[in-house]
């Protein structure tokens, strides 16, 4: 064996040792450099005293002591490292990554700024954000925010021209429909449009999200995760924004300047559409840095919702009350199904597909089944109501949503049952959920495009 070989081997050992060191959250890159230098110093000394390099390496590592002890000592001085920090400044030494994250920040700022400008443009035509009687902003607000978020995602994913054209066409279609349909502000179709268009557009954002690999189930699951985290971040930013607005109002009030019109015409609309883009950027860059919060919430609330639904069923069974259905309660039960589906989705999204079945899976099955039983009762009452009053846009939409969710949950319950009884693998549930996503898109776009026409804009 030549000397060069020995050195190569030593370098390989150093590289391996570094890898172990870098796995410790307490030890950052510069610590690894410093400790490696120390190790090399010891090895050089020992080699100078006549030891073979590999022997010297072993002794030097042994002298340094276990990494556990070492990182415990480092943690005492650098406790902040145990809290994973979201670095905005790109403090890492890797120039390629730093450059990429800087370009991401610039793209995000451009998109957020674009959103803020676009939301102010209609004011040139005399429309104002806080005027109560004009519903222009109420109808269009999603169209000032979500296309910019989609633009940011497209910038990151770099899909083909076909996908970009589809995205543009869908956003344009939404814009045309919501403004060109002759909808009366009091009509049911108008209410449906305002509530369904943002979700339909969000699914277009989803298309932008998965645009680099349209057929991949993993990418679709990532979009589900993205949705949950984006929502959590948006809510958090909303809370922060509320505090900002309260202080803005208070401090200007103290000098006798009324800031209300600035707040409601500038801060709120620009902040809202800007936050949409910023939240998307945050979720994209933080991926893998910080634990996802949506699955944690799911973990907390799945048992509580299960108990609540079971208690509801027991109460119905005990005193034989029927569910009194009007439109509000039907919408509420639709939302309940959506929440149950959300609880299911976000625990799926965080689950290791290889992990064996556990009590939590049984709990989930109980949750889904009790939601299904409740929904069966609701649907039973609902059919009676439609037979009595005939169809309206609202109850068709609510019924449709109910069926879409019911089909999903029923099949999920079946797959979950199979999983709990060790008949099928967990991946089947995941695949079902991801391949079901286009169904939502189809339904929401149907409500937006077709329902108003079918009911002649009632």
């Amino acid at each position: 064996m030549t000397v060069t070989n020995g050195e190569d081997e030593l370098e390989a050992q150093f590289a391996q040792w570094r890898e172990y060191v870098r796995r410790r959250p307490e030890l950052v890159e510069s610590d690894a450099d410093e400790l490696e230098d120390h190790l090399r110093g010891t090895v050089d000394d020992l080699v100078a005293r006549g030891l073979a390099p590999d022997e010297a390496f072993l002794i030097a590592v042994k002298r340094m002591g276990g990494l556990d002890d070492l990182s415990r000592e480092f943690a005492r001085e650098h406790s902040e490292r145990l809290w994973k920090q979201l670095m905005f400044t790109g403090g890492s030494g890797d120039p390629a990554r730093a450059g990429r994250s800087r370009r991401d920040v610039i793209a995000m700022l451009v998109c957020a700024f674009g959103a803020a400008v676009s939301v102010k443009v209609p004011e040139l035509a005399g429309l104002s954000f806080d005027s109560g009687d004009d519903t222009f902003y109420g109808r269009n607000i999603a169209l000032f925010a979500l296309p910019w978020l989609a633009a940011f995602l497209v910038w990151r994913r770099r899909p083909g021209a076909g996908v970009i054209a589809t995205l543009v066409a869908l956003f344009a279609l939404g814009a045309v429909v919501v403004n060109a349909y002759p909808l009366d502000d009091d009509s049911q179709s108008f209410g449906l449009m305002v509530t369904h268009l943002p979700i339909a557009l969000w699914l277009v954002v989803g298309l932008a999200y998965v645009s680099d690999d349209l057929r991949s189930a993993r990418r679709r699951m990532d979009f589900i995760r993205f949705t949950g985290e984006w929502f959590v971040y948006l809510v958090l930013m909303g809370l922060g924004g509320g505090v900002l607005i309260a202080f803005l109002h208070g401090i200007f009030d103290a000098i006798g300047v009324d800031s209300d019109s600035v707040i409601s015409n500038w801060v709120v609309p620009c902040g809202l559409v800007g936050a949409t883009v910023v939240a998307g950027w945050l979720v994209e860059v933080k991926q893998g840095v910080i634990e996802n919060i949506a699955p944690v919430l799911t973990r907390l609330f799945t048992p509580l919702f299960t108990v609540a639904l079971l208690a509801f069923l027991v109460t119905i069974g005990w005193n034989g009350r029927g569910i009194e259905i009007d439109r509000e309660t039907l919408v509420m039960f639709d939302l309940l199904l959506a929440v149950v589906l959300g609880l299911l989705l976000y625990s799926l999204s965080a689950r290791d597909p290889q992990a064996p079945r556990g009590p939590f899976d049984v709990l989930q099955l109980a949750l889904v089944v009790s939601a299904l039983v409740i929904d069966a009762l609701v649907l039973y009452t609902m059919t009676g109501r439609i037979a009595e009053y005939g169809t309206t846009p609202n109850n068709v939409a609510a019924l449709g949503e109910n069926i879409v969710l019911l089909v999903n949950l029923a099949w999920s319950a079946w797959l979950l049952l199979g999983f709990v009884r060790r008949r099928n693998r967990f991946a089947a549930i995941e695949r079902w959920q991801t391949s079901y996503l286009p169904v939502y898109a189809l339904w929401f776009w149907t409500v937006v495009l077709a329902l108003p026409v079918l009911f002649s804009f009632r």
Partner: protein, 123 residues
């Protein structure tokens, strides 16, 4: 002989600052110097030295730079700062007091008297 943990911890800062007052240095050399100074009796671990250096850096007593001296590896060198020298002077005063007190109660090793003198004529 082993120096107790408490004593090592108490003396660590003045020793490191003292070594750096002689000129800038890096971790491995500091550890070697401590070992030489104590005749091998003070054997600090890396897990003790580096967090200590980082703490002194955070407190502003030393400053660190990555340097590549010609013909050698890139290393993190530590240099004592003005506030570090002030801290060293303060520590020296305190240690002086302790050492003087010890010298008075221990005039010489031979002078240490037995703790219990036999009681006389009590039978």
């Amino acid at each position: 002989m082993r120096v107790t943990k408490d004593l090592v911890a108490a003396s660590a800062t003045p020793i490191v600052l003292g070594i750096l007052a002689e000129g800038e240095s890096y971790g491995y050399a500091i550890l070697r110097r401590i070992s030489d100074l104590s005749g091998g009796e003070l054997d600090w671990t890396e897990g003790f030295l580096y967090p200590l250096l980082h703490r002194l850096e955070r407190l502003g007593h030393v400053e660190a730079t990555w340097q590549a001296v010609a013909g050698e590896r890139r290393r993190k060198y530590y240099r004592i700062t003005r506030s570090g020298r002030a801290e060293l002077a303060e520590q020296q005063r305190q240690w002086q007091t302790v050492v003087e007190a010890l010298q008075q109660v221990w005039p010489s090793v031979g002078g240490i008297r037995p703790l219990f003198t036999p009681l006389e004529g009590n039978a």
